[in-house]
């Protein structure tokens, strides 16, 4: 399946991935409007971690055996057996944070305004992962792993 892979040796902690992820999940899809009018309502689904000089971006790894799907009690989280993509349906999510409790990468955030979980959806709506497209240093790349 397709996976976004973070190359920590080239991540430079700019956090533009977070910025563009947020925009990609905004209503307006406009940088300035998304931040001015929607920040707080929406959260980036990618988190850049830093320790000294090292940094890397974490978002959902679309696990082979996703702990979040096992824990999700509403069925909002599911794994597509064909593509391997783990998707989240906010319509069915009640914000019980069971997924937050078990995701080993901490990739699921609480979208507090909607009171639903928020995680990387590979930018379903726009089709291209915004973080990958906007990482200035190609520290995020899409890799196809075939198993």
């Amino acid at each position: 399946m397709k996976r976004i892979v973070a190359k920590e040796e080239y991540c430079m902690n700019c956090r533009l991935c977070e910025v563009h992820c947020l925009v990609s999940h905004s209503r307006s899809k406009d940088l300035i409007k998304a931040f001015r009018q929607e920040r707080g309502e929406i959260v980036p689904r990618i988190t850049v971690e830093r320790l000294g000089a090292v940094s890397f971006a974490v978002q959902c790894r679309h696990c082979d055996e996703p702990a979040c799907v096992e824990a999700c009690m509403t069925g909002a989280l599911s794994r597509d057996p064909v593509t391997g993509e783990v998707t989240h349906d906010p319509q069915r999510c009640v914000g019980c944070w069971m997924c937050v409790m078990v995701c080993p990468t901490g990739a699921i955030r609480r979208d507090k305004s909607g009171h639903v979980a928020a995680k990387c959806d590979l930018c379903l709506e726009t089709g291209t992962p915004a973080c990958v497209a906007n990482c200035p240093n190609e520290a995020l790349v899409i890799e196809e792993d075939n198993d």
Partner: protein
């Protein structure tokens, strides 16, 4: 503490209508110009330390930042310009030597701009490089005075003359010496990879060759400089050619100094010096005080490399460059590299960078002439360097007599360098001239190598176009072909040294 008189060199303007407080600028400026005020929930800035590298402006996702040169508005004066005054303030405050990096930036003519190229009209046809073969392959190394053939029983010919070792370049452009230490590991890797991918050569500089880069050896020229950093038999063996570095265009006559802070584990391995110790290159090679001494070193290196690798000697373009070059060729060098006064550096005293040495255009013309006059032009290839900015500069240099050129600054610019000229601070925001691990990761060698290869491809293409226009289909036919050059705005004396006619002649 007394009040500092030096004023900010740049204005950092942030458009409040655009800024989204994302703090990308805060995280990207290594000079701590931007900061985030938690209380005010706003990005603030302190312009005093801005070096104008444009990193923040480039990465700001909303384009909110504009960096503008801020010449402090002292009373207008053609002699006592703001740069001059600020420099004096600086020295009055520190008592130190003014430092600079990259090439001479004073507003002197680049003579390349006064030289124009020819093109075919009516009497001889031009060539379309997209339809017809166009040869840029360049061989560097000594060429025989004559070739002898021998014939076997059936009368089949073969070459009897033993040829000297050659470097084969797919285009007459190489990357000039930039040591790992002066530039980052990733910058070095980008250059080495691009050289390999495009079929040309990168130069290790005087800092040695880290084992990681040994696989790039077939596309590396390694230097032996006054500090002898990283030199051992394996170093000589992995390389394609060896270059003795006598001088550098940016700072002829003086040595180099890599401060101990930059000597980390990897650099220490590469230079073969202890971690944290200063790497000092003496001004002269202490074993070279004459052409005879140089000959000894050249032949030692030839011996060590079993006469299988060309030996190059690199000098700065200085007043007697022609005579010196002649001596170098007679001493047995296969390649003479001449670095003009606009050559770049990672650190040089400003006064030396801006005032010592001569332009590459004159040096090259003089050297080529002299070697021809002495009938030894074939004994060595001539590589010109120092401030080549475009393919047109390259074509002009080759027509003036160079076999190939080295590009340094242009290559770094391709990697993202914005010429802030502050390499010596070690805080290069573009991850090029720094060893700070927070900064070096900004240069992904995948991207770096790709950009360099693109640059080489673009320039090579343009070179072919220009050659085609002149009706020439092989770079060999352009070499030293000064008939294709004309000067504008040059004095008779300049024209005669350059050996070219004036436009209209």
């Amino acid at each position: 503490m007394s009040k500092r008189l030096v004023q900010a060199e740049f204005n950092v303007e942030r458009d409040p209508e655009r800024c989204i407080q994302c703090q990308v600028c805060v995280r990207q400026c290594s000079n701590q110009v931007h900061a985030y005020d938690e209380e005010a929930e706003q990005v603030t800035c302190d312009e005093a330390s801005c070096v104008g590298c444009q990193r923040c402006a480039t990465l700001c996702p909303t384009g909110a930042i504009t960096i503008k040169k801020a010449p402090p508005d002292f009373a207008p004066d053609n002699n006592w310009t703001s740069d001059v005054i600020q420099n004096i303030y600086r020295q009055a405050e520190t008592g130190g030597v003014l430092l600079s990096a990259m090439g001479n930036d004073t507003a002197k003519t680049s003579w390349w701009d006064n030289i124009l190229l020819n093109a075919s009209q009516v009497t001889n046809p031009s060539i379309d490089p997209l339809r017809e073969p166009m040869e840029l392959t360049t061989f560097l190394g000594a060429k025989p005075n004559a070739v002898e053939l021998s014939f076997d029983d059936q009368g089949g010919p073969s070459l009897a003359t033993k040829l000297a070792p050659q470097l084969v370049l797919s285009t007459p452009i190489m990357f000039s010496a930039m040591s790992y230490g002066a530039i980052s590991y990733n910058a070095f890797e980008s250059l080495a990879r691009a050289a390999g991918q495009y079929g040309t050569f990168a130069n290790s500089g005087e800092g040695g060759l880290h084992k990681d880069f040994w696989p790039h050896g077939p596309n590396m020229i390694v230097q032996v400089a006054s500090g002898r950093f990283g030199v051992d038999i394996d170093y000589l063996k992995v390389a394609a050619a060896v270059e003795i570095k006598i001088g550098q265009g940016a700072k002829p006559g003086i040595g180099g100094h890599l401060p101990g802070e930059k000597v980390d584990e990897r650099i220490s391995q590469t230079r073969m010096i202890p971690v944290g110790s200063d790497a000092i290159s003496p001004a002269p090679h202490h074993d070279i005080y004459s052409i005879e001494d140089l000959r000894q070193l050249i032949y030692s290196l030839k011996e060590a490399t079993r006469y299988q690798k060309p030996i190059s000697v690199k000098i700065a373009a200085v007043h007697n460059v022609a005579a010196i070059a002649s001596g170098i060729v007679r001493a047995g060098a296969d390649i003479v590299a001449i670095d003009g006064y606009k050559g770049g550096t990672g650190a040089a005293p400003t006064m030396i960078r801006n005032n010592v040495g001569i332009p590459i255009e004159f040096a090259l013309a003089a050297v080529d002439d002299r070697l021809r006059q002495e009938g030894i032009r074939n004994q060595a290839s001539v590589v010109a360097c120092g401030g080549f900015r475009s393919s047109a500069d390259v074509v002009k240099a080759i027509a003036l007599g160079a076999d190939a050129v080295y590009i340094g600054t242009a290559a770094l610019v391709a990697l993202g360098c914005h010429l802030c000229q502050k390499c010596y601070t070690g805080k290069c925001n573009w991850g090029i001239a720094t060893q700070d691990p927070y900064l070096t990761r900004r240069l992904n060698p995948d991207i770096g190598a790709r950009r360099l290869v693109n640059l080489l491809r673009g320039w090579s293409h343009e070179i072919k176009e220009m050659m085609g226009g002149m009706g020439i289909n092989a770079i060999e036919s352009l070499r030293g072909n000064r008939e294709h050059l004309r000067g504008v705005g040059l004095s008779d004396r300049e024209l005669s040294i350059l050996g070219i006619k004036a436009a209209g002649e």
